[in-house]
Symmetry: D3
């Protein structure tokens, strides 16, 4: 198995093209980004993942910006470079300012710090939080 390679629209099967077309139409972009082109190596996974992303990221009880910032917070915590780059762009497109990004980062950093303080001090759950 060679290193995974992106599948461009021109080389894609009709099923993959249909997903690409839906992504482009939904997002109003001229081409899909690399994530989808690599995932297309697993056509069934591509279709399933896009259907899930489209449903999960659509505005609902939470607006699109909040959802993108949550996605970014997870990606920063996991240290996924591609995900940080693409979801920083997506969050900015949805309205995240530089000041909002700075505060998001401060919260993400603080949460990762205090999560470990809790682990190390073996803090038991307060009864009030457990009902």
């Amino acid at each position: 198995m060679p290193k995974p390679r992106p599948i461009d629209y021109a080389d894609a099967s009709p099923a993959v093209r249909a997903v690409y077309d839906d992504i482009k139409a939904t997002r109003g972009v001229p081409d899909v980004n690399n994530f989808w082109k690599y995932l297309a190596n697993d056509p069934q996974g591509l279709e399933r993942t896009w259907a899930s992303v489209r449903q999960v990221m659509a505005p609902g009880a939470l607006d699109a910006l909040t959802k993108e910032m949550i996605y970014l917070a997870v990606s920063v915590t996991n240290g996924c470079g591609y995900c940080i780059a693409s979801h920083s762009a997506a969050a900015a497109k949805a309205g995240m300012s530089e000041a909002m990004f700075g505060e998001l980062m401060a919260v993400v950093g603080m949460a990762n710090e205090t999560n470990r303080l809790v682990n190390g001090y073996r803090v038991p759950i307060d009864p009030a939080f457990d009902v």
Copy 2:
């Protein structure tokens, strides 16, 4: 060194009591929760951490609810049980509904899934995300 134990107000030093008093006044609560009582074993760490949390979690470019949900998203990703319990409560107090929590969880799950798809397929950053 025995297992870390919580330090109650009655047993706390004046410096620790001053922090407890500030937490109680800032949050309008009758007592501090376990996190602070355990962290009080390191009085300097208690003071520094509270000063940071107070500054980072105050409303600014992001409102208090958004900050609590980001905190929760990180805690869920890290699997910190205490942190999930306490910040679910804090987010709910700041206005998170059950529907909002459900959508937050869906985004956190999706982000953790796609972060790994990106890792495994070794997806390179699109030039558009890197400027």
Copy 3:
């Protein structure tokens, strides 16, 4: 301490060369890969790690391909770029097809997603799973 550097066969001590020779003979390869050349900065660690890897990765109740795919699943979850590259190659050499890789990635992604849903919903262990 400068940045760690690889130790090539020509520059290696007799003890390190003995490990390199055993790796090359066991795997039927003309040279060891970078992992071993860097780890050789700690000769005792090199010897111990190779002895463990040789024992752990040998076919037993699980065949070599299954073991390589488990190794890859962990590396993808941890986001270790080098490990993903080297163990993708090793799994492919052991028989992993592109279709198998696609399904492996789908399972790894799904597991990382549902692990977080479990964390956030604070799901207790069913009694049936705890005996």
Copy 4:
């Protein structure tokens, strides 16, 4: 928002019951386990996640046992207690013996060890793994 609670069949909406019925029929079990009962707090997430799990975990290029062991390897790496318990049971049901579990654990442990050795020694990818 109180602590999440499980939704039993008797209290479930028709849409949730339909998912429960499909899980029970697909797996041949008298009741769904806690994961689904908690996730039912987000009916759309329940339906989407079950559809994904059913597709991803079905035998294909990889058999059911291999898929369950990969799921377990990820859960052990992430330290998700519920997931380890439920997928240990699922893997055992699919044919994992105690000896296979022991070897799986040895590979998972080894991979987590060497992933960090790679990080710390800053090992660059061998050219042969990057094509």
Copy 5:
């Protein structure tokens, strides 16, 4: 496969007993702790792991206390409850005071915080750190 169970000395095979005896003699303790009793379900893994732990944790360029504190820092970062409990005890036995533990926790928390700030701001490595 039932839930893993501990194997007590009385029920252990001669090979497992030999490892238990060596652990007890090396550490001067009347019984081995639960980690070894569970790992004994994989006798080969027990023997290999004990041989590695004995070698890795022996005083060398780093003293025993420093090694135990590094072990604890990793366990706190990973959120491994058992490991935090057992290695807090081991570090205390090796000389860690409560003040040292408090400072260790502060560093662990800070490192987990700044690691994420680095991720999110996509900080490139300074040339001076890369030679």
Copy 6:
């Protein structure tokens, strides 16, 4: 929002310059490294983080070298490339030899391995570690 960019001294506000000056004076270096230049995009975060790092990393119950090695152990565990590079340099400056680094890496690897063995075998805490 474009990709985060470093803020050099010449382009920095007086408040940011004051932090840079304090870092340079405290560490005796001619310029601050990239971490601070990127974090300067959030001036309040820069000031708070530097104040915390200065306090946490100062010698106390633990000496500076031990603190740097703990920082490095966490960074290696999290797979933060920048942090590994910068804290390897800082630890070396504080006195870490290549042999000490090799032993540190061996402990970090071992801890990450055994943390997962504990997870998978579901090892309960020994009563002696829980008091």
